[in-house]
């Protein structure tokens, strides 16, 4: 029991530690694809370190909520990430939150992120908050449809049970999984503010969503916000990787199983990160009002996933 909790703690720390690496990897691959040399893979760590120790400045007009928000955003995102099985399956933390609670925790983080954006009272913050809430409002049902498809197949909303069910079934071609996979990818792109929806490296205020909300943050507050965004990317990556391709994850708590689990998840995330980089290089950012169509496609995929589960996969 104690060892299980310790491994859960270890895994939570691993989530936070790996997140900047994933972002660094994506940036590096993207740079190479664009014939640039790019910053080192470990650059995000240095950025975080620098920000954490810099002086923090807060606008005169900011309320106390502005200073609390980074902590809440970071902690909620991290807690959500900690409940996703990363290297080992049967973790006690996974029981704290099932897949719906996970979505809820991310919504909590987003709520405070948007509020923080509106707090200083500049136009950009409000704009970012308004757009973020629109995007998330359309992404959330698609996300839930996708995970419901998995949950209906496994008869459970617990991530552990879903993965165990998937592992026990072996290799089955499920149309519903294919659709859910597509939906989850689209949602992940939208929620993490990646390219067809938002540009993580933009510096033009009018096109920003996520960056517009954290425009006023500096120093450690900014570090926490950035870190939370990186953890969120990792979280979605792990969800996509481990829900649809759970093979390799440690079923037991032995060192060997955990080692294999870690290696498997690193490889899977590496592949996903590279795919993301390719996608971001090939695609252009959409106009804001094309985003609803993009997310409608995600919702449609989610719905079709559910329907094909009901129609094609359950006999009765």
């Amino acid at each position: 029991m104690i060892s299980a909790w310790l491994i859960a703690l270890l895994q939570a720390l691993l989530c936070a530690a790996l997140a900047p690496l994933l972002v660094g990897w994506v940036r590096k691959v993207k740079a190479r694809l664009q014939n640039r040399r790019g910053a080192p893979v470990l650059q995000p760590y240095s950025d975080l370190r620098k920000l954490l120790f810099k002086e923090t400045r807060v606008a005169h007009t900011a309320s106390p909520l502005f200073r609390i928000a980074p902590y809440i955003v970071f902690v909620a995102t991290w807690l959500a990430a900690a409940t996703v099985p990363l290297i080992a399956l049967d973790l006690p933390t996974a029981r704290i939150a099932d897949i719906i609670v996970l979505v809820g925790l991310l919504a909590l983080a987003r709520f405070f992120l948007a509020l923080a954006g509106m707090d200083v009272g500049t136009a950009f913050g409000g704009m970012g908050a308004s757009r973020e809430m629109m995007v998330s409002a359309l992404a959330e049902p698609a996300m839930l449809m996708a995970v419901f498809t998995l949950a209906m197949t496994a008869h459970s909303t617990s991530l552990v049970s879903v993965m165990e069910h998937h592992l026990a079934d072996g290799f089955v071609l499920r149309p519903s999984y294919l659709f859910a996979f597509g939906a989850l990818i689209l949602v992940a792109l939208a929620e993490c503010g990646r390219i067809p929806v938002d540009n993580p490296s933009t510096h033009l205020e009018l096109t920003m969503i996520h960056e517009a909300m954290i425009l006023e943050y500096t120093g450690r507050h900014l570090a926490l916000m950035e870190w939370a965004a990186q953890i969120k990317l990792l979280l979605y990556g792990v969800l996509v990787a481990n829900l649809f391709f759970p093979w390799g994850i440690g079923a037991a708590f032995g060192p060997l199983a955990l080692g294999i689990g870690l290696a498997a998840v690193v490889v899977k995330l590496g592949v996903l990160g590279a795919a993301l980089a390719v996608g971001e290089t090939v695609l252009a950012k959409m106009r804001l009002f094309r985003v609803p169509a993009f997310l409608n496609l995600a919702l449609l995929l989610g719905l079709l996933g559910l329907l094909s589960h009901v129609i094609l996969e359950v006999g009765a």
Binding site: A76, R95, I96, G121, T122
Partner: protein, 672 residues
């Protein structure tokens, strides 16, 4: 009169409510009496109701009594069982808080022209009406109490009647309340015809054919749904709730709508016969539409109280989705799942009473302090009214269904019930329920957008008008009232297993099974079906949240030598930002308005005045007005124009009609 302490407490509550009403009526022009005597009595009445409800829930079973009132051959029956206990508790929770909040709030009316006699008198009667509806054990007392509730709340809506819009809202309310009352009466008529009596025991014993049961269901659904503000019968709600004084709005939105839910559950699950599966589908459809339309209209509003009223439509929609699931599972003989869905609905009933009460009290506090209901004039209130600000934030988080607050638990339970759809035999139902849950998910996300808008525009940023800049902290009583509700919101979110344990007797009473498995893994873990299927630990998640956040803050506090320095916000190198540059509430809602433009009738125009100032005007109306209400109104009008022809003005013609009617009636009776 009765041996049971619970029932005695309930009677005490009724007597206290009547007392409060009588005192305000007798006090005449002494406004302080209302503040110092009548409002605390309201609070005590609430406490008594709360006590009665909790006792009834924990003791189980039911107590009934016969009152020596009513008609000679039809005395009034009252009965207190788990279901009425739960709703007594809901009434009591909000009402007892009003005892704290009310005295300070009504003070602002003391110097106005409005009659405090009416306010105090009808508040008491309104409470008595709601209490009696919940306690009634025969259709006669039920209808009397229902009308008492409707009428007294009509006078409360019309309280500030100098304003023509208020009078219009009150009239619309009265009209629709009566149509609703009429259909409920007809529904009881069907039940009574089969049961052979107007008391509920007789109705329970009767067996109805599926056809007649469906007729009774439809009548009850229309009647109670009208009171509950389900789309498309919601038109009165956003008009009537905002114009009443804020503590009454809290009572109407938080409690009166729940009384309608009570009536619906009582009639459909308790009195009516066998449940049919398509009733559940109807509820799912209407609930989904209500939830989605309610929240979209809420998001579009700029009047804070109107926004909250529309959000009530949405929450009632969620409750009816859960009830629909309960009916579906009950009709297909999955009693355990039906119990889960019913518990989810009842949990949301309590939650909505708490957070909507809290939010209306917060809106009242803002109104009290700034005399402003328009979001576009607010801003920066968190720094001027910190207590109200933090309590309101808890309300916003709870209503947005964010963990670890209470709204999340009930939505989570609803989702869990919906996800058990795979156990149904019918493939069509299996595919319909997930669509309803997709709507629920969309609704949840839009609610979050709505309350980010409310909180961000009202409490954050900078003040947009002078009187908001001068806002001050409200009196202690008002803060305490909000504080109690906020605390309850948090408690109900963190301790779901205990709350479910409390609600469980209702499910056991109505469906035969409860949810014994909910707390099977200990009080830390909420496991509605089994530990493998789903589990949620609110206490642990809040513990982890607090622990990590605390550690991080402590770490930064300890080791950073450089503190936080204040500076000017980023202005892109141009002029410093002014409050007028902030995003407005209208602007915040623009993306969603554009995406869901289909549902609204939008009129917008931009004009440039002679002074070169650009003006933007936006008018947004409910399409349903044109689609449903206007044709009905036109139909009624043309029908009445035809009836007018009978009205010749000649007395003998009228007498002739009377004679003809009499003859026809006699003929019908003799034929039967």
């Amino acid at each position: 009169m009765s041996a049971s302490p619970a029932l005695s407490l309930a009677f005490l509550a009724v007597v206290l409510g009547l007392g409060s009403s009588a005192i305000s009526l007798l006090a005449g022009r002494q406004p302080r009496v209302l503040r110092l005597l009548a409002m605390p009595l309201v609070g005590l009445c609430g406490l008594a109701a709360l006590g009665a409800g909790v006792l009834a829930l924990t003791q189980g079973g039911s107590v009934s009594a016969t009152l020596p009132l009513g008609l000679p051959w039809m005395p009034w029956h009252v009965r207190l069982d788990a279901l009425s206990g739960l709703f007594l508790m809901v009434i009591g929770l909000v009402t007892s808080v009003l005892g704290l909040y009310g005295p300070a709030y009504v003070r602002s009316f003391e110097y106005g022209r409005d009659s405090l006699v009416a306010l105090g008198g009808f508040t008491g009667l309104f409470l008595v009406g709601m209490l009696l509806v919940v306690l009634a054990d025969d259709a006669f007392l039920f209808m009397v109490a229902w009308e008492l509730m409707s009428l007294s709340s009509y006078f409360l809506v019309a309280f500030q009647h100098e304003n023509a819009a208020n009078r219009r809202a009150a009239f619309l309310y009265l009209l629709m309340a009566h149509i609703g009352g009429l259909t409920i009466l007809l529904g009881f008529g069907v039940l009574a015809a089969f049961g052979g009596g107007f008391d509920f025991d007789a109705m329970r014993a009767a067996t109805l054919s599926p056809g007649w049961a469906s007729v009774a269901f439809a009548l009850a659904f229309v009647g109670f749904g009208m009171k509950a503000g389900l789309v498309p019968m919601h038109a009165w709600l956003p008009e009537a709730h905002p114009v009443a004084p804020s503590h009454i709005s809290a009572l109407m939105s938080g409690v009166m709508l729940k009384v309608a839910v009570y009536g619906f559950i009582r009639v459909v699950l308790d009195l009516n016969g066998e449940v049919q599966w398509f009733w559940g589908v109807v509820l799912l459809a209407v609930g989904s539409v209500s939830a989605l339309m309610g929240v979209l209209f809420a998001l579009m509003q700029t009047d804070l109280k109107r926004l909250l009223a529309y959000s009530s439509v949405e929450n009632l929609g969620i409750i009816f989705i859960a009830l629909g699931l309960a009916l579906l599972f009950q009709a297909t003989e999955h009693s355990m799942l039906a119990a889960l869905a019913l518990v989810a609905a009842l949990y949301h009933v309590i939650n909505h009473a708490l957070f909507k009460g809290l939010l209306f009290l917060g809106a009242g506090a803002i109104l009290h302090s700034t005399h402003e209901r328009d979001l576009e004039q607010m801003g920066g209130l968190l720094r001027r009214m910190p207590w109200t600000g933090y309590f309101f934030l808890i309300g916003c988080l709870s209503i947005s269904a964010l963990p670890p607050f209470n709204g999340f638990v009930s939505e989570w339970l609803t989702f869990q019930a919906a996800l058990q759809a795979w156990q149904l035999e019918s493939g069509v139902l299996r595919s319909l329920i997930p669509i309803a849950s997709a709507v629920l998910a969309l609704t949840g996300a839009l609610v979050a957008a709505t309350f980010v808008k409310v909180y961000g525009v009202a409490f954050l940023g900078q003040a947009r008008s002078r009187h908001v800049r001068r806002a001050r902290v409200v009196p202690f009583g008002m803060r305490a009232g909000q504080g109690v509700l906020a605390l309850l919101c948090v408690l109900l979110g963190v301790l779901p297993t205990q709350v479910i344990h409390l609600i469980d007797p209702v499910a056991t009473e109505l469906l035969g099974t409860g949810m014994p498995q909910a707390g099977a893994s200990g009080w830390l873990w909420l496991t509605p079906i089994s530990a493998e299927t789903a589990s949620y630990s609110a206490p642990l998640s809040i513990l982890a949240l607090a622990l990590i956040a605390g550690l991080a803050i402590w770490w930064f506090k300890r080791r950073t030598v450089r503190g936080v320095r204040r500076c000017d916000p980023w202005d892109c190198g141009f002029a410093a930002p002014t409050p007028r540059m902030q995003y407005t509430a209208t602007a915040f809602a623009q993306p969603v308005r554009r995406v869901f433009g289909l549902l609204f009738e939008i009129e917008e125009d931009r004009t440039t005045g002679e002074d070169g100032v650009q003006r933007y005007r936006l008018r947004l109306t409910d399409r349903l007005w044109g689609l449903v209400y206007a044709p009905v109104a036109r139909g009624v009008e043309s029908a009445s124009r035809r009836v007018v022809r009978l009205q010749s003005g000649n007395v003998r013609v009228y007498l002739g009609w009377t004679l003809a009617t009499l003859l026809v009636l006699l003929w019908i009776i003799s034929g039967a």
